[in-house]
């Protein structure tokens, strides 16, 4: 652990200095990397620490995005205030899904599939009910003032993403040293044994998914405020679910820095494929190309490196 402290300090200094040194588009890439690491961490709490693999985490993301956007656009709320409500809404949805699924005793693949179905129900609802404006999506009026959660200079949204990422790292760090986190790991490793040791497995899992849902919803609002537009496909589509799962799995599920490392790795892959697409005319479709690489990485990681890229660092002997 002590080896990690100087690394963290250097990393933080580099992250703080980054936007001052590089052109704007690299600031945006950094912002996206920290943001993805943040929502990835929310998945990591469920799928990594507690071992409850979710295929539909986007349900919380979309809940957050829609809650704050509706409050702001339809009811004229201040977006910062709406952000808090969005987190509460995400937590409530997490609580509801957890109570329903864990009460029914769903585990493993069954839990993964039911989260996918919940996300699908939310997507179809968002597509059909009037107060989300259906498939048209919702536009937030551009009005770049800090008190309006919109920024003229991309530097501020970058720092906000960095802040979110740091908070998520602190939460994950707390999980590795608190009794709550230890109980989640015990549940992941062997649920029946954990129960036999006196852990209230159901209550811990419900608490866990509520926390994870609230975090992910915070990411949803952030996304809506950054792009000023959401629709059911973005807010509740499978892609974001997969993205959150991917960054955690690639970086290292159940580790503090896994989602962050995974997120930067995927950003790197994105940039490399974009470059490849620009030099090889046959590969002009960038999006599928990088997703193919992601898919292969996911297979390789699960098959060969179940603890993700983090385990490459950890293999080194700790004491010389």
């Amino acid at each position: 652990m002590s080896r990690a402290v100087p690394l963290c300090v250097v990393g933080l200094a580099a992250a703080l200095a980054w936007p001052l040194l590089v052109p704007n588009y690299l600031v945006t890439i950094g912002m996206l990397a920290f943001f993805t690491a943040f929502i990835g961490q929310s998945w990591n709490i469920a799928g990594g620490f507690a071992g409850q693999t979710s295929f539909g985490h986007v349900v919380f993301f979309g809940t957050g995005a829609y809650t704050s956007t509706i409050l702001q656009v339809t009811y004229g709320w201040n977006p910062w205030l709406a952000w808090l409500v969005a987190m509460a809404a995400g937590g409530a949805v997490g609580w509801m899904i957890a109570v329903l699924s864990f009460r029914a005793g769903l585990r493993g693949s069954y839990f993964a599939l039911i989260t996918l179905a919940f996300a699908e129900v939310f997507r179809i609802l968002a597509n059909s009910v009037p107060f989300t404006k259906g498939g048209l999506g919702m536009l937030i009026k551009a009005d770049p003032r800090p008190e309006n959660f919109q920024f003229k200079d991309p530097i501020w949204i970058y720092y906000l993403a960095l802040l979110l990422c740091i908070v998520s790292l602190l939460i994950a760090w707390q999980l590795t040293r608190s009794r709550f986190g230890a109980r989640l790991v015990a549940i992941r490793e062997n649920e029946d044994a954990a129960r036999a040791l006196g852990i209230d497995v159901f209550a811990e899992k419900v608490k866990m998914l509520t926390l994870s849902g609230a975090m992910c919803a915070a990411g949803g609002t952030f996304y809506a405020q950054k792009y000023l537009y959401i629709d059911p496909g973005i807010a509740f589509g499978v892609d974001k679910s997969v993205e959150m799962l991917l960054v955690s799995m690639v970086g290292g599920a159940g580790t503090i820095f896994g989602p962050l490392i995974g997120s930067f790795t995927l950003m790197g892959i994105n940039e490399v494929t974009r470059w490849l697409a620009s030099v090889v005319p046959a590969l002009k479709n960038v999006q599928p190309l990088s997703l193919i690489v992601y898919g292969i990485m996911l297979i390789l990681i699960v098959a060969r490196l179940p603890d993700g890229l983090m385990s490459l660092f950890r293999r080194k002997p700790r004491h010389a």
Partner: protein
């Protein structure tokens, strides 16, 4: 409020669609029942088979129905090799792992399709597409009726194969008691590979039967994956009869949902059934145990 003839037409249309869903679900439930893995790539593999049918028609001019033997054989071979090369190696340990691997596989397949086939919607113009058959008050497209019948014949043939052939018996033995089957000299890994191959062959057949009336895009797999899982969960994971009845129920649900709730909201019925079955009766209608 509504015309009963309208309702009858909706039910009949749903039944016809359900007939093909049965084939898709039988493949999924077979793979689950024997290998105990949830094949998340099922929808993507179906999409791939649909493209195979499309290109056989486009490039060589083979009618989708005439392509059945070729596509079934090809799909079987593809599934068999896929199992040997990828799935079989990781078909052990935590069950989420194989789910994640098949998720990775579906991401790769979907995007390879997008890269090579483009994002356009592709359809096959068969000369009989516009032929309708009048049943009661309902006009039903002829290809849908042919596909329905063909799907039932293929399911029956598969059932017969499972009941009578040596391989069928071996598959059932492995499904019941893996260790015991190995002890009496059954090559379990081979049975797994054959089984996965048969599951994918069902998709090949479904693709041939779908293409005369349906379209294909690289994201077609998404449309089917939750439907197939719902049918299998509804019928009971691993149950053949369950997959058959589940297929019809879901076909009708989808058709009536579309009729009464509209195109968008109508899809919600399937997801809701899926959630409710998992929450209330995870063994499904015919499953022995979850």
């Amino acid at each position: 409020m509504f015309d009963p003839a309208f309702l009858v037409a909706g039910v009949l249309n749903g039944l016809l669609a359900g007939g093909i869903y049965v084939l898709v679900a039988v493949g999924l439930t077979l793979i689950y029942g024997v290998l105990h893995i949830i094949n998340f790539a099922h929808g993507s593999l179906l999409m791939l088979a649909m493209y195979a049918v499309f290109y056989l028609w486009r490039l060589i001019g083979i009618d989708p129905y005439a392509a059945l033997p070729v596509v079934i054989a090809g799909a079987f071979g593809f599934g068999f090799i896929l199992y040997r090369v990828l799935i079989g190696r990781y078909n052990h340990g935590r069950d989420e792992n194989i789910l994640l691997i098949t998720l990775g596989l579906s991401i790769v397949i979907d995007n390879v399709a997008l890269l090579f086939f483009g994002g356009d919607t592709q359809t096959i113009d068969v000369p009989y597409a516009g032929t309708f058959v009048e049943i009661g008050a309902a006009f039903l497209p002829l290809p849908k009726i042919i596909s329905f019948g063909a799907s039932l014949v293929i399911c029956a043939a598969l059932g017969l194969y499972m009941a009578k052939s040596d391989m069928g018996k071996a598959i059932r033995a492995v499904a019941k008691e893996r260790q015991g089957a190995r002890l009496v000299g059954i090559d379990v890994e081979n049975v797994f590979a054959v089984c996965y191959g048969i599951g994918i062959a069902c998709l090949g057949a479904a693709a041939c039967l779908l293409m005369p009336t349906y379209y294909v895009t690289p994201s077609s797999g998404h449309a089917f994956v939750l439907v197939a899982f719902t049918i299998v969960v509804l019928g009971g994971m691993g149950s053949f009869a369950g997959a058959a009845i589940g297929g019809f129920i879901i076909g009708i649900t989808e058709s009536l949902g579309g009729l009464f709730l509209g195109e968008q909201l109508g899809q919600i019925g399937i997801s809701l059934i899926f959630i409710l079955i998992l929450l209330l009766k995870p063994t499904g209608l015919f499953g022995s145990k979850a």
